[in-house]
Symmetry: C2
Subunit: 344 residues, 2 copies
């Protein structure tokens, strides 16, 4: 079962077996054969627990996301996996969903050697939730050590700005999305954001507001609604929007997920898309194209984001200094059929 048995079986020392496993080129052909034979015979498989312990690394990377089900994240994940596999890492996933795990609890994971590094894809609180077990990683950085963390596709709060990120230019992209509606001739444009504390959508809201301002258009009372990043939330938000006396002729949803909800609600009211109301989303997730009508949206290069994020993290884990600058990847406006000039 253990290296020791194999050594005995092969008539060599445990060091030789270990070497055979780690650098076979350093053991003589003849010995190699003996050892391999012993391994086959004993059915040995090296204890990863002991190995990782001895080497002081877990070979695990923790990925924190808000919802596994999100089709956009799944693209990012695929990119992460690709390089993880190449670099010999396994991926540990944590969903923040309802619980309010703070940043420090994740940082602690690397200090307590549960993972070698962390990728943050979700908005998490930069502060620890009170009552934590006396561990405060953010402060412990005083030791000089910063846990290897990379933030993918997420706006960074000032407190977390020590860490690098890989993302799209959310403000610019949102500006472009709103700009598209403005170019079509829309004047009454609403915005469905995430939650008020979601960093993810706050930059997009900023872009929306900037575009409106640039065009000299007002953002009327009630035109910015929270959609909770969910389908149902977006339906509620849309209902509010449709009840407004200055009902918008176009809605910019901060995520495709919410756009789907909005479209559903609009149809439920017997209105047409894009005839009565235009809709534009953000993410270009898998189901955007099969929506009816197919959804106009901003595409993010999900896999690329994943790959770059993981690559950067790998460098950080190797000990390289990767700085704290955000890496901006290109977005793209994807024109489909959910947007059109306003009717009037």
């Amino acid at each position: 079962m253990s290296i020791k048995q194999v050594a005995k079986e092969a008539g060599v020392s445990i060091a030789t077996v270990s070497r055979y496993l780690n650098s076979p080129e350093h053991v003589r052909e003849k010995t190699r054969l003996k050892v391999q034979e012993a391994i086959d015979k004993t059915g040995f498989s090296r204890n990863a627990l002991a190995r990782n312990f001895r080497r002081g690394k877990t070979s695990l990377v923790m990925v924190v996301l808000s919802a596994v089900g999100d089709p956009f994240f799944s693209g990012v994940m695929r990119g992460i996996w690709r390089v993880a596999r190449r670099e010999g890492y396994s991926i540990l996933i944590s969903e923040t969903q309802f619980n309010t795990t703070g940043f420090n609890e994740y940082a602690d994971m690397v200090f307590s050697k549960q993972a070698d590094g962390i990728i943050l894809l979700a908005s998490i609180s930069p502060f620890m939730r009170d009552g934590g077990a006396g561990s405060s990683a953010l402060e412990r950085r005083a030791d000089g050590t910063v846990p290897p963390v990379v933030i993918g596709c997420e706006t960074v709060t000032p407190e977390l700005s020590h860490f690098p990120s890989v993302r799209v230019d959310n403000i610019g992209a949102a500006r472009e999305a709103a700009g598209h509606l403005i170019d079509l001739g829309h004047k009454r444009i609403a915005f469905i954001s995430g939650a008020h504390d979601s960093l993810l959508t706050s930059d997009r809201e900023r872009g929306y507001r900037a575009a409106m301002e640039d065009a000299g258009l007002p953002v009327a009372e009630g035109w910015v609604q929270e959609g909770q990043l969910s389908i149902d939330g977006a339906r509620r938000a849309t209902r509010e929007l449709l009840a407004l006396e200055s009902r918008p002729s176009a809605i910019f949803c901060a995520t495709d997920e919410m756009a789907l909800g909005a479209m559903h609600e609009i149809r439920a009211h017997g209105l047409e898309i894009p005839g009565d109301i235009s809709i534009i989303g953000f993410d270009d997730m898998r189901y955007a194209a099969t929506a009816s009508p197919p959804l106009t949206t901003i595409a993010q290069p999900a896999e690329e984001i994943g790959e770059h994020t993981m690559e950067r993290l790998c460098r950080a884990m190797r000990g390289d200094d990767i700085g704290a600058e955000p890496e901006v990847v290109p977005h793209r406006l994807v024109l489909r059929s959910s947007t059109a000039p306003p009717r009037e």
Copy 2:
């Protein structure tokens, strides 16, 4: 940094510190205070690597699924997480997507202590891909040890039938779905399956065929198409179906994902759903309700499946004998607007 430093700082032995961490009730109040103080002062956080090594368990469970993005799986994951968190496990996720990792490579993960147990949500090959590094877990079972594995929502091949599963009655449910179409008066009913080697959908196909046979309806040449479990695959399959001279008036898709693709293709041909063609899916994933028209489908209790699977695995990891019987959870036909009586 280590327990040793804390011990020195607190003026106690390392055993006491360890006990303080694992069973504080066994250390005197006064000592507890000293130790806690020392921990705070040194900023100690216990090395999980060493701990797991010593205890011989990883506290990790590997979940194998075909695609993270699948909204149905994400429901299952949520259930798994809930009990994982409660039982102190973290979740390692592996996506089979393109690579053909076989069962043995996963079984090896528990023998090599990379994970304590495995949950299989995807169809994987029961055999090892050749060229594996001399490890054959399936044979090593001769040692009497069976790695703790539970199969969720998946039909089991004979080779894997040593392992328990938690799933819906796929045959019965598919029968019900096809039956619904038959009850509506459809006679020409097509079926879009997964891949030919996908265990997932083969039972559903069986149910479909059984229902057709029961009703004395023929399954004409070309009425069963492979949709590759993907949107695009389903679009291609649907295209084939629409080109048939005996064009079906209803299509039963083995998954909602494919149903979305089918609907998209049908609309692209200028046909109406359910007017010209009825569609029924399977899974009741999140986006089924927001499709246009909302999709009639078979709902599976995703979270419940996840919970039960994980619970059973926990028992297995604890060493209990959990048998190999499948646990069948209830499904439910969800009537929405994508099905209607045939026009003629």
